[in-house]
């Protein structure tokens, strides 16, 4: 099918051969200048939580610790997200350069790519590229080594503190916060953990300067974003787009002409019904955006043939299995939500029970230990509230 006239950007996936040059150039600059550039650029974490990258690096550089670590979060497990796999396949050097510069800024000598087990096929090609990169680092005289740590099938390990636990040889259970990773992360040492895409963006900022990045996007959502588009679309795939696009424009470009809802941010994100497409912009502000865990940029389109009950049921099954199980709201709450909508559908519970479940979801949001349990309410409430009749009949 011929691609529609999309306003695609070509920053991240642009094949550039100047890694060594960019690295050498950036290494000559002061740590403060590098951090300032990141802050000016407005780059925020592309994993979904949207924490300002420059600030994260700054905090870790100021934190005290015998060792410090840079970790690239490649545990891309959010349903509907596959951009990190594509970035690591196509432009891994940009990610490695981002890690190396971060290591210089914070004072780290070890870096890890936590790669989800489902992407094990990437280990071999990545290892070759990392070996070459080490040669380059030796050449410029920077003591930094990157290793791959392979996951083994656990969505929750994308949560940064669960990821540290996993690397330390434990069950991937999120920790209490504070302390935050920049104070006590991997091995309880100051750690910068960035999403794959975030690190790849830093390369563009080092190369083109912060202003070019900042000129893209809107208000608090600067730069470009890589979107993973799937569902009822004739053109599923990876697209780098500018922030600030309305959902209406998005479905016009990507939909099959019959879109009734778009799930923004994966199973832990929000479901937006057709009537709200016009007023919903894609960006960090305004809530209905990439506020998701662990990986932002998932866009799933559902057309009118789809049952939103089935969609929600599938999400809840996912959470019921992938919750780490340690905290009550998430472990038990997810099961109750799943069984609850089944009971209402079968008529075993009255439709008022949905109100109780909405209340439960809200309580999960405010009491759960980590982002997983907190964000189950996002999809649950947005689907139940917008498609109540589909839940009952």
């Amino acid at each position: 099918m011929a691609k529609k006239n999309l306003q695609r950007l070509d920053l991240i996936f642009k094949n550039e051969q100047d890694g060594e040059q960019i690295l050498t150039k950036t290494f000559k600059r002061s740590n403060q200048d590098i951090v300032n550039d990141l802050i000016i650029s407005g780059l925020k974490g592309r994993g979904g939580a949207g924490y300002p990258t420059g600030l994260k690096w700054k905090l870790a550089s100021e934190a005290e610790g015998d060792f410090k670590y840079v970790i690239c979060n490649a545990d891309e497990g959010e349903p509907g997200t596959f951009k990190d796999r594509e970035i690591l396949s196509q432009v891994p050097v940009k990610v490695l350069i981002g890690m190396a510069v971060c290591a210089k800024v914070i004072g780290a000598h070890e870096g890890y790519i936590y790669l989800r087990g489902e992407y094990k096929f990437l280990v071999e090609p990545l290892t070759e590229i990392i070996d070459d990169f080490h040669v380059l680092l030796n050449k410029i005289g920077f003591d930094f080594r990157v290793k791959i740590f392979l996951g083994s099938g656990a969505y929750i390990c994308g949560e940064e503190s669960a990821l540290f636990e996993s690397m330390e040889g434990h069950r991937g259970e999120p920790r209490n916060k504070p302390p935050f990773p920049t104070q006590a992360g991997y091995r309880k040492m100051p750690t910068v953990i960035n999403n794959v895409e975030t690190l790849a963006h830093t390369y563009s900022i080092f190369k083109y300067g912060p202003d070019k990045f900042k000129d893209l996007g809107v208000q608090d959502s600067r730069g470009s974003k890589v979107f993973s588009v799937s569902g009822d679309t004739p053109i599923p795939g990876i697209y780098e787009l500018e922030f600030g696009m309305s959902l209406q424009k998005f479905v016009e470009d990507f939909g099959d002409g019959d879109a009734k809802a778009v799930q923004v941010g994966g199973a832990s994100g929000f479901c937006v019904p057709r009537k709200k497409f016009e007023n919903t912009k894609i960006g960090y502000q305004g809530k209905l955006t990439g506020v998701s865990l662990p990986t932002g940029g998932s866009m799933m389109i559902f057309n009118s043939s789809r049952s939103m009950y089935n969609v929600l049921h599938n999400y809840l099954e996912f959470f019921v299995e992938e919750s780490c199980g340690q905290c009550t709201p998430c472990r038990v709450g997810t099961q109750q939500l799943l069984l609850g909508i089944e009971a209402v559908k079968k008529g075993e519970k009255s439709s008022e029970y949905l109100e109780k479940l909405l209340g439960l979801a809200e309580n999960m949001r405010v009491t759960a230990k980590c982002g997983l349990g907190q964000s189950v309410a996002n999809s649950f409430s947005s689907i139940v509230e917008n498609f109540k009749e589909e839940m009952i009949y």
């Binding site: 209490n176 919750s323 780490c324 199980g325 009550t328 472990r331 038990v332 109750q336």
Partner: protein, 595 residues
């Protein structure tokens, strides 16, 4: 130390840096409900019952896991907090088999209390228990594990891990399948579980309970054919009161004896008697080993020798250091020495057929139930100890019998096998066996009392994780001349996590001890798994003080001066480590798997 100022429920409070919101609230006497939190254990922050509202934050924060920060404004009882907390409790109840009226923990279940406090009603959530295929693990003679009542607070896992460093229990699977499991979900009986019961002592619900023998004891008491003999361990008398409405730190020996008579026991005797006997046998074994090693240079003689009174420790070393079993004293524990004597010597003395004796023991310990069931514990030709009750079970029986415990008059143990020394009393505290053994062994060797003020060997007392003490032997009696100038090096550890540290240092040759005391439970038997709930550092300290008070108040302070023990040797055993002793008072051990 710098102070942090915050307000809780609009009241100003100032705490040390690093203190949690929960600790700050405690300072104001504001009670925040908790479930997964336990003073003895690291903070988990899992159950989310203790959430509070932090002004300016949309999400609630767990008060147990959140450090107080300057200027913080906390609400512990806002509507948002109450709703959220109620929701969490409702969720926990939905995954819990809430058959409260038929539950062993009815009335003492923390979830039940919370559920009552928050008025959890009928119109709740879907019952998840009905959908899961739970089975109850009741194969162990000590501990029953019922996953259908488990609320996944992980107190048991943390107890097993941090206090004991065993890890017999772990969290397994994830999501809806997440559960507390042993290795490959095998029965507790088959795994590295030492039956210490620290998990049982900390389980907030009925998911982990002791296997109780209350009904068996009642029916034995009511059988006119049977002669009921009961023995009570040193640590029971300083804790029993807690389970019957008294403050911790009360010594209730006399009331306990009175209550046991009222319950219908025919002979009310004292395990302390065989604690003294243990000291004689074990002390002589130590001296014999020292001679074997130092004089005869016998490679078969192993040092350091470790104590053997704690059945949790025995099972632990059988699993984890089977190669060190020759280092363990072959002396049985006081409970089992007592059992062996009751159905031989004592039966003969009171002219009762041992067949008709039911030997019951009251122990601060769940592992004692296992110990009594070990196949080798039949030296009398019968099961030496028939039924073992914990302190908690005895308290329950006293309540069942309608006895007003606090109003009881003190009574004395029966004689024979009811007299004991202060040395036996301190068996209940960490370091007690060591102190008792040194009081006796030193005197055997030198003819003089141990050179410590008032016989109080303070270096081995207290809650330090690992304690060391050395006594130099000078001018011994002629037959012990080989010990002249020898510095007897001893070590005391309590809690199996600390035991592991000591044994690792023995294995790798870093430590050169002669004698090691190990008690499986933190604080020793006074912190045993069968003791009243709650047990925590504060309470262990008060029980310890009570034990040493009891010791100080005893007319006899040394085991070898216990007149009944002296008589027992004259009449029956003849000499320590003699033929009869070996038959009745010593035992063997079994190497086991490491899982």
């Amino acid at each position: 130390m710098s102070k942090i100022n915050l307000t809780i429920d609009h009241i100003q409070v100032s705490v040390d840096k690093g203190a949690t919101i929960l600790e700050a609230a405690k300072k104001l006497n504001i009670k925040i409900p908790t479930l997964c939190y336990h003073e003895d254990l690291c903070v988990a922050g899992n159950c989310r019952v203790c959430v509070v509202e932090q002004m300016g934050s949309d999400r609630l924060v767990p008060s147990c896991a959140t450090p107080a920060s300057e200027g913080m404004e906390i609400l512990t009882n806002s509507l948002k907090v109450r709703n959220a907390r109620k929701s969490v409790i409702e969720l926990l109840v939905s995954e819990h088999r809430a058959e409260c009226t038929r539950c062993y923990k009815n009335g003492v279940c923390e979830l039940q209390h919370l559920s009552s406090e928050y008025l959890i009603g009928e119109d709740g959530l879907i019952d998840l228990v009905a959908l899961k295929n739970y089975t109850i693990d009741y194969f162990s003679p000590s501990i029953i594990k019922d996953d259908s009542k488990c609320i996944r607070c992980q107190r048991c896992v943390r107890s097993c891990d941090q206090l004991q460093n065993i890890g017999a229990l772990s969290v397994a699977y994830k999501g809806e399948k997440m559960k507390i499991a042993s290795f490959f979900e095998k029965p507790m009986y088959e795994v590295v579980c030492t039956n210490c019961g620290q998990c049982v002592n900390r389980c907030p619900t009925g998911a982990l309970i002791e296997r109780n023998y209350i009904d068996e004891v009642w029916s034995a008491i009511n059988n006119p054919q049977k002669h009921l003999v009961v023995q009570t361990a040193p640590a029971v008398r300083i804790a029993l009161g807690e389970a019957l409405g008294m403050e911790s730190g009360n010594i209730v020996t006399g009331r306990m004896v009175a209550a046991l008579r009222r319950l219908g026991f025919d002979s009310v005797l004292d395990t302390d008697f065989t604690a003294d006997l243990t000291i004689i046998e074990e002390g002589n074994e130590l001296l014999q080993r020292l001679k074997g090693a130092l004089v005869d240079k016998d490679p078969e003689v192993k040092l350091p020798m470790t104590t053997s009174c704690s059945p949790g420790w025995i099972k632990y070393i059988e699993h984890m250091y089977p190669q060190l079993l020759p280092n363990v004293s072959t002396a049985k524990s006081p409970q089992q020495m007592f059992g062996a004597l009751v159905k031989t010597y004592y039966a003969n003395k009171i002219k009762v057929d041992p067949e008709d004796i039911v030997s019951v023991s009251i122990m601060p310990c769940t592992a004692k139930k296992y110990e009594a069931n070990r196949p080798e514990m039949h030296s009398s030709g019968y099961k030496d100890v028939d039924l073992v009750l914990t302190t908690r079970e005895l308290a329950r029986m006293i309540e069942q019998a309608g006895i007003d415990f606090k109003a009881l008059e003190n009574e004395e143990f029966d004689s024979f096998m009811g007299v004991s020394s202060g040395a036996a009393v301190i068996f209940g505290a960490t370091g007690g066996v060591m102190e008792a053994a040194l009081r006796t062994a030193y005197e055997i060797v030198t003819g003089r009392e141990v050179p410590f003020d008032g016989l109080n060997i303070t270096p081995v007392r207290g809650m330090d994780e690992v304690k060391e003490a050395a006594i130099k032997i000078e001018n011994p009696l002629p037959e012990w001349s080989f010990l002249d100038g020898v510095e007897l090096k001893t070590c005391v550890a309590h809690g199996l996590a600390n035991a592991k540290k000591v044994m690792d240092s023995v294995v790798n040759g870093k430590a050169q001890y002669h004698f090691i005391e190990i008690m499986a439970c933190p604080g020793g038997c006074l912190g045993g798994g069968g003791q009243p709930i709650p047990t925590n550092m504060e309470i262990r300290k008060r029980r310890t003080e009570a034990i040493y008070r009891e010791d100080e108040g005893m007319p006899i302070r040394k085991s070898h001066e216990n007149p009944e023990v002296v008589k027992l040797y004259e009449e029956f055993l003849k000499k320590p480590l003699g033929h009869k002793s070996h038959e009745l008072l010593h035992t063997t051990y079994t190497p086991r798997n490491r899982y």
